[in-house]
Assembly symmetry: C2
Homo-oligomer: 491 residues x 2
């Protein structure tokens, strides 16, 4: 472990920041709040994109692209949307620069002022529903199931790499439906897609539920979310899916002729996940030795390192190593053979450990003699000497085991950090202490929710879906409650 | 053919515009100059992206992501770059809106003025080289071979869907090298990648060459380009690759310790292709019946249309159709089986013809009896009745034939429209007439180039690579010339 790298216990927040930089995932740019996603970080995002994009297409969605700019007036059309989104944003006011009078650099050309300012999209509901107006006449044009991969900008004051940045990358789905039921189903289907992705690919268990009114997307009737628990006991919202009702259709006058030949407003959903998922991925599995990546999202799943003194040895080792590499590659596993002689094996071990490569294979002269190979797994840091015979099959099996183990560890962690809490004292004790998901009764009022947040910084992460109702008393007000909700401090 | 659809002969420009709209490829948005890329158009772009991305990775490149905003002062660092790029661009001056005093909508919050304006990237050399400064210390950090898929904005006054839009999608490669030779090789390698992509995937033959100084990228030492010829005799620049020398390294102070332990400035290239390629694709192959797509880029490569009167017939046809569909899909062919009963077969034929689906299979009750199937190829509009046996193999072969035929047709067209021109009269006659590529002698001066452009709107598309030198006299000035260059009017 590098000496300039904090441990989680010393300082979790610093550990995260150090990790992102040291593992070459991302860095701050010259533009306040905007990040540079470095090749290694971007390679993980590409794997996420590929998996999600396939899931979107398998559920009938297609991709399209809408403008990055939104006319300022569009935001005012939907009353609550403007409150939520048209505030901290990048505003384009001019379309030309000119040479400075002193000939030193360029200045804004005041003659090139836009009649109406353009906003760099913080989210695209408005421009998309303005477009859908022309695409939808009758129920035959529905449903529209469209997704967009794009960059968006929200002018955040305090930023952290991946978790909160002024510009970030995301996908936003925007669908249009003939009925309320169909739209609601769509929102829930996409919530499930996100949950499946988090669990199967990211190895992160998530809670599914609805947001309270105060945490709802600006313009939504209902916001569904998946929530994950980080190693420091704080929650992270990993994806949201919104049932928008007819709000945007009304704001942009999108009507259709239904099967009964009546004009009606179209029903809508929107849903998105972003590069924030990289933050969740890092914080869920990584340790004091660096990044830990689930095999399904690791850009390099296996690295082979030769240990040699002479070129002759290297030649013999390389022959075996390349055979293993090519047979793993044929099974779709990404394998790097690092035979550089500019770095020592020990340096390489630390490096790949830090970068979270799930499996490391080491081959030395003695291995060749004895027909063995050293296998190291990043998740448990365990080393083993195996017979080299059938090593490809063994490695593939091990990758599955690692994927499963990371998920199970995360499940166990969440279980150990989920608590039924029935008194305010207990609530305070947990929230000020280890954190975690607190299942507690709440009286259903925005006032109580706001006071709890004010006093403890804890928010209601979700009202869980599919949980049996159970009467109880609000931990804060003592008033009756019909269901426990999930509190936590959150990113 | 639809009656609201112009033919190429009537009005080529209108034909193009109609085609883009009618084939559901793209449309203008509510934001001046910005387009919406519709799902069908975007699906073609996704196929292009996938093919190019693979070629980039196969040549050792990785993807990353850099900020959309560039501080205004960055443009002034490289003297010629500022002239070329810091003029017509979107300028962000504020970062907040607030409620209007009259409570009607939102207005710019004048208290939230940026200290330094931010430019929405028109290209990313400046922000990337500012970042590379921290990534490069020694020759061991080189080469850096990085590509980015991104949106960019150039405030164009006259826009046309795909061909010239204020916002467009593209990829931009930015590489850093230890030597001039290596950088120059990289620029040429990527030119070859673009040429291969154009010819093998888009079925468009291209000329490779260097641009004259006046057509060079702002900040480049040498700009290489591929040029294609459209059906109206105008040229279209389909991709550029720039050798940037040490210009950006000097502007952003990017030095490295070379193998001789000396500090030196880093050598650079950049290269890009954009959604403009969709314009080239459409204009190269399409006809008065609509879009024609090369099979390798067609979102749907084969459509199967059943012709039936009864549900029983449909059931029998569907059984055969789905077998063909699944066997083609197993070979990686995208096949749509359109069994909708809301549209008649004739309507479907026209629709898929218009959308450029390369192969249409039609199955009726008589085909089932006789073991036949109707096969229609979009490129030649030829229909054939084949035995249904082995139809998957036949269709795969046909798709290859169509890909090859489109390329050959485009080659023939270019040959018929390329002319050696030796006098000014001939030059005028050709350029005012059918257009095409004119191979002519030029005295090498910017003055002559400018005058020819002024008088004829023709520009030097490229100084061809690998063409033997041959002495001659400039068609305009009569002064000596050592090589023919290629003139054309261009998009």
């Amino acid at each position: 472990m590098a000496k300039d790298f904090s441990t989680r216990e010393e300082n979790y927040s610093q550990w995260y920041n150090d990790l992102v930089i040291r593992a070459d995932l991302a860095e701050n740019s010259a533009v306040r709040g905007c990040m540079v996603i470095k090749p290694y970080g971007f390679a993980i995002w590409e794997k996420m994109q590929a998996a999600l994009d396939k899931m979107f297409k398998d559920t009938g969605h297609v991709n399209a692209y809408f403008p990055i700019f939104i006319p300022k007036s569009f935001f005012s059309r939907e009353a609550s949307h403007v409150e939520g989104f048209a505030k901290e944003c990048a505003v384009v006011t001019h379309y030309r620069l000119k040479n400075a009078p002193d000939n030193k650099g360029v200045v804004v050309d005041e003659d090139a002022k836009l009649e109406e300012e353009l906003i760099v999209r913080p989210t695209s509901e408005t421009i998309i529903w303005d477009t859908y107006k022309n695409w939808i006449q009758s129920y035959r044009d529905l449903p529209l199931l469209i997704n967009q991969w794009a960059n968006v900008v929200r002018w955040e004051m305090r930023t952290r790499l991946f978790l909160r940045t002024a510009e970030f990358l995301w996908q936003e789905g925007h669908t249009a439906h003939a009925t309320s039921e169909e739209a609601l189903n769509e929102a829930l289907t996409m919530l499930d897609v996100y949950a499946t992705f988090a669990e199967k690919f990211m190895a992160i268990p998530v809670l599914k539920g609805t947001k309270t009114a105060s945490e709802r997307f600006a313009g939504a009737i209902e916001t569904f979310a998946i929530e994950a628990l980080m190693q420091d006991g704080k929650a992270l919202q990993a994806g949201t899916s919104h049932f928008l009702g007819q709000n945007f259709a009304k704001a942009f006058d999108v009507k259709f002729l239904n099967r009964e030949n009546q004009l009606d407003f179209v029903w809508a959903t929107s849903w998105g996940v972003s590069t924030r998922l990289l933050g969740a991925l890092i914080m869920s599995h990584s340790d004091d030795h660096g990044l830990v990546l689930p095999p399904k999202l690791a850009p390099t799943q296996v690295v082979i390192v030769p240990v040699f003194k002479t070129n002759e040895q290297l030649g013999q080792i390389s022959e075996v190593a390349r055979k293993i590499q090519s047979s793993l590659q044929q099974s779709g596993i990404s394998v790097k053979y690092d035979d550089r002689d500019t770095q020592k094996p020990g340096w390489k071990f630390t490096e790949y450990e830090f970068k979270g490569v799930p499996v490391r294979l080491v081959l030395g002269p003695r291995d060749l003699e004895q027909g063995t190979i050293e296998v190291f797994r990043r998740d448990t840091l365990e080393k083993d000497i195996l017979q080299v015979e059938d090593i490809d099959r063994k490695v593939i099996h091990l990758l599955d085991q690692i994927q499963e183990n990371l998920y199970q560890k995360a499940i166990d962690f969440r279980e150990n950090n989920s608590h039924m809490v029935d008194t305010w004292e207990e609530f305070l004790q947990k929230i000020e202490g280890p954190g975690g998901f607190l299942y507690a009764h709440w009286d259903g009022t925005a006032e109580t929710e706001a006071k709890i947040k004010e006093e403890t910084k804890a928010t209601i992460r979700v009202i869980p879906l599919g949980q049996p109702l159970a009467e109880g008393k609000c931990i804060y007000s003592g008033n009756p409650s019909s269901q426990r909700v999930i509190f936590a401090r959150a990113y």
